[in-house]
């Protein structure tokens, strides 16, 4: 595969691994948070950790869209299906995420609820057109990457007069979440997140550019490298972060220059800005309420906003007892620190969101690393 295999070359991996080993100062530790689950996935799938020296440690961040959605929002989506009898369309990942009372959209579907997995917002719009007598709600989730297609669907629905389509908007914003990770944990058990630097998700920056990280880096003095998702991208970015840390620098650097620019995709950003605006605050699983960290549909487009069209009960369910997702997402604890990990909580029966998506930190540990010695040393707090 052109433009794929080139970034998975074993010989180049060896060269990068040697450079990292040579330049990493054996007298210190490098704790690097990969914010996005896509990076976590790549690290495990290609066995990248095995190519790192002992003192370069990946801390798995909160960045998996289904992992960060709080139980309450899924309960609300279920209420839309059960109380309003809507056709609920969403991406496949969302189906298995546990809601309150050990329910999930997959179970609601099995009980007869009309929940449909779609591959794109275009599918959801088509379903709305094909079912003019039913209300069709798109359960929108994801970071800045999946937001423009949602905005486009709303614009298309308006232009095409599709009256039975609306969006339950749960889009969240990356920079605000990264910032919140470095704030003290409010629950106050004295734990501190120890992270030296960040791998920034390149697909997010393909939309928003690198600029939104500049203020963050200046304020917190933590280096950020916008990194591609291929394993060589990850390794190259780790080398760039090590060089910044060794040189005492804290900058936003762009490894993924083949796509990402400082300004990002201005057209996509304009489209999102036209249809959506920032929420004052939004609850994240694991991070609590984070100010200015999510989007909602602008009042001008209210008729396409499921939260305005329907009466949705307040979703204030708490997390499963004993579930360490909140701490794992912050990188304060590791999956194996959780009492539920591998016993009550497994990929077949996930309790917390970190186990749901294959990109979730717990699922990744379970799949690829649970019996490896080095995995227990990863993401040490």
């Amino acid at each position: 595969m052109k433009y794929v295999e080139e970034f998975r070359r074993r010989d180049l991996a060896r060269i990068l691994a040697d450079a990292i080993a040579r330049e990493a100062d054996s007298g210190r530790r490098y704790r690097i948070m990969e914010f996005c689950g896509g990076h976590t996935h790549a690290i495990f799938r290609y066995g990248v950790q095995a190519l790192m020296p002992q003192n370069v440690i990946f801390v798995h961040g909160p960045g998996c869209p289904v992992c960060v959605l709080p139980v309450g929002r899924i309960d609300q989506a279920i209420a839309l299906v059960e109380q309003e009898d809507v056709i609920l369309c969403t991406y496949g990942d969302m189906l298995r995420v546990p809601a309150s009372g050990r329910r999930s959209l997959l179970k609601v579907k099995a009980e007869g609820g009309d929940v449909r997995m779609v591959w794109s917002t275009t599918d959801a719009l088509r379903i709305a057109r094909d079912n003019p007598d039913r209300q069709v709600v798109f359960f929108a989730i994801g970071f800045e990457t999946t937001t423009p297609p949602t905005a486009a669907a709303i614009e298309q629905a308006a232009a095409g007069g599709v009256k039975n389509f609306s969006v339950f908007c749960n889009h969240v914003l990356t920079p605000a979440a990264i910032r919140s990770i470095l704030e003290p944990v409010e629950a106050g058990d004295g734990e501190k997140v120890a992270i030296d630097a960040f791998l920034g998700p390149s697909h997010v920056s393909a939309i928003i550019g690198t600029r939104p990280y500049e203020a963050f880096v200046a304020a917190y003095r933590k280096p950020v490298v916008i990194a591609g998702f291929e394993p060589l991208d990850v390794m190259q970015s780790v080398l760039m972060l090590i060089r910044q840390l060794n040189g005492g620098r804290a900058e936003v650097e762009n490894e993924y220059t083949r796509v990402v620019s400082r300004e990002g995709n201005t057209r996509a950003r304009a489209l999102v800005a036209k249809v959506m605006e920032q929420r004052r605050s939004f609850e994240w699983r694991g991070l609590g309420r984070v100010p200015d960290s999510a989007l909602q549909i602008r009042p001008e487009w209210a008729e396409f906003d499921a939260e305005r069209r329907f009466t949705i009960p307040a979703g204030d369910a708490s997390e499963v007892r004993g579930c360490e997702c909140p701490h794992i997402l912050r990188g304060v604890r590791k999956p194996t620190d959780c009492k539920l990990f591998g016993t009550a909580c497994t990929p077949e029966n996930p309790m917390g969101s970190c186990m749901v998506s294959s990109e979730g930190a717990c699922a990744a540990y379970w799949s690829y690393g649970r019996l490896r010695k080095d995995s227990t040393e990863m993401s040490a707090a």
Binding site: M1, R9, Y46, P65, P347
Partner: protein, 349 residues
């Protein structure tokens, strides 16, 4: 069942007709359906006897028996349909013991309203598969369920066969030092189904690999009667099947990603959909475990067969108290290849 068509006032309407409750009631409509559609298509001496069972002589030896239910959606897909799949699937399960399949039986569960034209197309496809594989359907059953109580059509098939003397193939016989072979490129069936189910168009048509493997197995067993394990990596794909074998035998398996054959289109489709081809279903491939010495001979035999042209040694059996399947990645790292949990769901970003 030896009635002539003139017994019925009208011929079965296989152009516009649909299945209704009378087709499963045991009356004349059911008999007509059996005669004018099932027996006509699947015709053979044993079926023609018209009894509720098929009677045949068997040679002395060990018999194997296997059964499989088919509920696939969509019913027709690139490279096959539910009919051919129902034949291939069961023949393969029989063949994975090293056996020569002899006979099949089949049960149809039809939903009221199912088009007779589709039914005829499916049964014709079964008949074609039987003819190609040389294994007849010798007895069958039809039931009709009310509209909404089924999904068009479900087909179960059962097969029996005879295992040649001296052959003892079983999932618990993998031993450290053995070689792991696969008969060809993986992932085609699952990707073909998924792309037709979701209306994804990839420009090139990826076809299911659905095929009956007993011919290939016969050649393999003739050359190397001492094969340890055979299994077809269907649902859950190569990864899940290898985990089954590792657990059954109490061993670990080490794979080399570079050696696993996969078509470029399938790899690209998986890349696009966020799927791992190791977990994608196959319907015309087998995994073989045997001694390293036998592996070289088997590889020649497999590659000489049309269904084994891209056969490869993909790994080895090792001692491992945890029964892990691990893989050296193309990238030079190492990963655990675990059981598939739930359905493989597409990733969104």
């Amino acid at each position: 069942m030896t009635a002539t068509p003139s017994q019925y006032t009208r011929r079965l309407d296989t152009r516009k007709g649909t299945v209704d409750m009378t087709h499963g009631s045991g009356g004349r409509a059911m008999t007509q359906l059996i005669e004018e559609l099932f027996v006509k298509q699947l015709d053979n001496e044993l079926l023609r006897q018209g009894n509720d069972q098929a009677r045949f002589r068997v040679e002395a030896g060990r018999m194997v028996m296997s059964t499989d239910g088919h509920v696939i959606s969509p019913l027709f897909f690139p490279g096959g349909d539910i009919g051919s799949l129902a034949v291939h699937g069961t023949l393969n399960d029989v063949a994975m013991s090293g056996a020569r399949p002899l006979y099949l039986s089949t049960g149809f569960i039809l939903e009221e309203g199912f088009p007779l034209a589709d039914l005829e197309r499916i049964v014709a496809s079964m008949a074609r598969a039987c003819k190609e594989t040389g294994v007849p359907v010798v007895t069958g059953d039809t039931k009709v369920v009310e509209r909404g109580k089924g999904d068009g059509i479900f087909i179960t098939t059962t097969g029996i066969g005879v295992v040649p003397e001296g052959v003892d193939i079983s999932g618990d016989r993998a031993r450290p030092g053995d070689a792991v072979l696969v008969s060809g490129a993986i992932g085609n069936h699952g990707v073909a189904i998924m792309s037709s189910r979701e209306n994804l168009e990839f420009g090139t048509a990826i076809e299911s690999d659905s095929a009956a493997l007993h011919g290939l197995v016969a050649d393999m067993v003739a050359a190397v009667p001492g094969i340890h394990c055979l299994r077809d990596p269907t649902r859950g794909g190569l990864a899940t099947t290898l985990n089954e074998l590792a657990r059954q035998s109490g061993v670990g398996i080490r794979l080399c990603e570079e050696q696993i054959p996969i078509d470029g289109e399938v790899a690209a489709a998986c890349e696009l959909l966020g799927l791992d081809p190791l977990y994608v279903a196959n319907e015309g491939k087998l995994i073989c475990i045997c001694t390293l010495q036998d592996a070289r001979r088997l590889l020649e035999v497999m590659r000489a067969h049309p269904l084994g042209g891209r056969a490869a040694i993909i790994g080895e059996v090792v001692e491992d108290e945890y029964g892990l399947v691990q893989m050296e990645t193309r990238f030079g790292g190492n990963r655990v290849v675990d059981w598939l949990a739930g359905e493989q769901l597409p990733r969104i970003c």
